[in-house]
């Protein structure tokens, strides 16, 4: 556990050292602020004290930002060879994967924490559904965790950051859109399966304020499958080269 935390700290620091974190936080707050307060289906337009528009815009912003954060995590280490340095220290592959995962998740949590003032502001101008807000945040966190693990996996199979980025987006689109489209074009069991696989449907049900164990299991299991696959790809160095 201590080893994971040491790596988490380093990763988080690396985000801030490379300006990546500042750019990400500023852009995230800029986008979500703009669409929550000023433009489109903003709070004043829908005339309801609700953060629904904030959650839907955050969802899409994170969809693009997370792969940009995760793309370098392992790909860069593969390329520069630092992965060898890291793995010959007293840490195992799983601790490295978890450390990197938590480091990125922590950055997202920091960015999300900075939007808490939105919640206070909106609740001061009208009657807000507190449960829906907290479950909306929970949904964003779960979705981010899943995306980070997907991005980490994409980063582990290549030493090229651009490929890692595109691959993460590609896998993201499958879970985000393709399964959704397939779900609506099939009926019966097949439609049910695709609907269950889609991140969208689970996110929507959570952000409506319904926290169902089915959704929690979905996000957590997808996250762990990706993290395990990442570990497997790190261990692949032992098979061939």
């Amino acid at each position: 556990m201590k080893q994971i935390w040491i790596i988490t700290k380093r990763e988080l620091k690396a985000f801030f050292d490379s300006l990546m974190a500042y750019i990400m936080i500023v852009a995230f707050l800029g986008f979500t602020g703009f669409f929550t307060w000023l433009y489109g289906a903003d709070v004043f337009f829908i005339n309801q004290a609700s953060l629904q528009s904030f959650f839907s815009i955050s969802y899409w912003t994170l969809f693009f930002f997370i792969p940009a954060l995760t793309m370098r995590l392992i790909a860069e280490e593969n390329k520069s060879g630092t992965i060898e340095l890291l793995l010959t220290k007293p840490v195992n592959d799983w601790q490295v994967v978890m450390g990197k995962f938590l480091g990125t998740l922590l950055l997202i949590l920091i960015a999300l924490a900075m939007t808490i003032p939105y919640y206070f502001t909106v609740s001061s101008i009208g009657k807000i559904d507190h449960g829906a807000v907290w479950s909306g945040y929970l949904g964003l966190i779960l979705m981010s965790a899943t995306y980070i693990s997907i991005g980490l996996f994409a980063s582990s199979i290549t030493s090229n950051q651009i490929i890692a980025f595109l691959l993460a987006i590609f896998i993201g689109i499958i879970f985000h859109i393709i399964f959704d489209v397939l779900a609506s074009s099939f009926t019966g069991l097949l439609g049910g399966i695709f609907s269950y696989l889609s991140i969208n449907s689970h996110y929507e049900s959570i952000s409506r304020g319904v926290i169902d164990s089915k959704d929690l299991i979905y996000f957590l299991s997808l996250t762990f499958i990706c993290l395990f696959s990442t570990e497997a790809f790190l261990a692949k160095r032992n098979l061939s080269k």
Binding site: K2, I6, T82, E84, L85, P90
Partner: protein
């Protein structure tokens, strides 16, 4: 702390990078790993440091197996990989702190250890710079500092002096020598002079197999058991001297040197020495022997002999 490599085999697909090698390194010994490119030096080192797990066989560091107890082995080893990869975006101090924490050094001792490493490796003026701003020589020092920070019992260095200038090479060699007195050191190189200068024992590896094992002197003896001398004589002309030397029965071959009048390279017969005979000859004839230098077989020749085919 001893390193015991037992029947280590590592295959990459159909290729056997390391083929059933066994050797031991004892405490206080500096072992030089020598071999042409792609001989399996780096692979063996990666296996010792638990980065790659052996396809077959086992490695024990101080009795701990890399297969069953890698975390313990990793703690005992300080490793400087080939090409010296580093987190270039980190400042030197932060990087050393990160490594120290990973190595499980107690919180109160981390500062002290970093300070010590900065002094030993000569990083005083650079410690607050980012690693990306450092020159290659300084980066190499950072690499050594991170390998030494937890005071490891075993040091594994993959081409530690690659890309350094002669002064830095001399410094790092001296450092390795001083560490090697109390610790176990394995270093690889394809620079023969380096191995000869720093190592107590040399292991030559080729195509995944050990082809020679011993001190530099052992290897010389094994490769050539012939004495080679260079001599110069004054007071005689080349022809007479040549004829007279031919008559000495321990001499196998006389090679006149073109640069200088009346000087020769003399190859004695196997296991024989001609020094006394040449000296007596000169005394007898009233010549002056102005030079007699034994020529040692170069390690390069042995290396070539052993690794070409």
């Amino acid at each position: 702390m001893d390193i015991v490599v037992e029947n280590l085999t590592k295959t990459y697909g159909p290729q056997r990078a390391v083929d059933n090698i066994s050797f031991q390194v004892k405490t206080g010994e500096v072992l030089g790993f020598l071999g042409p490119n792609g001989a399996g030096k780096t692979t063996t080192m990666k296996a010792i440091t638990c980065f790659l797990s052996p396809t077959d066989g086992d490695i024990k560091v101080g009795g701990n197996s890399v297969l069953s107890n890698p975390d313990k082995v990793k703690k005992l080893i300080g490793y400087l990989p080939e090409m010296n990869p580093l987190y270039v975006e980190m400042p030197v101090i932060d990087y050393l702190k990160f490594v120290a924490e990973l190595q499980g050094i107690h919180k109160n001792k981390i500062r002290e250890r970093i300070k010590e490493m900065v002094t030993i490796c000569g990083l005083e003026g650079e410690k607050h710079k980012k690693i990306s701003e450092l020159s290659k020589g300084y980066r190499q020092r950072v690499g050594l500092a991170q390998a030494l920070i937890h005071d490891p019992e075993v040091l594994v260095l993959d081409e530690p002096t690659a890309g350094l200038d002669p002064n830095q090479i001399a410094e790092i060699r001296a450092l390795i020598r001083s560490i090697g007195r109390s610790k176990t050191v394995v270093l690889s190189s394809h620079i023969l002079a380096e191995v000869e200068a720093t190592c107590d024992r040399i292991l030559i590896i080729n195509k995944g197999k050990i082809v020679a094992d011993g001190t530099a002197d052992d290897l010389r003896k094994r490769a050539h058991n012939r004495e080679v001398l260079r001599i110069s004589i004054e007071g005689a002309d080349s022809n007479t001297a040549f004829q007279a030397l031919r008559a000495v029965d321990t001499i196998d071959l006389i090679d006149p040197l073109p640069m200088k009048e009346c000087s020769f390279e003399i190859h004695s017969k196997n296991d024989a020495t001609s020094r006394k005979a040449i000296f007596s000859l000169c005394v007898e004839k009233g010549w002056f022997l102005t030079e007699m230098t034994p020529i040692e077989t170069k390690l390069e020749d042995i290396f070539r002999e052993l690794t070409v085919n």
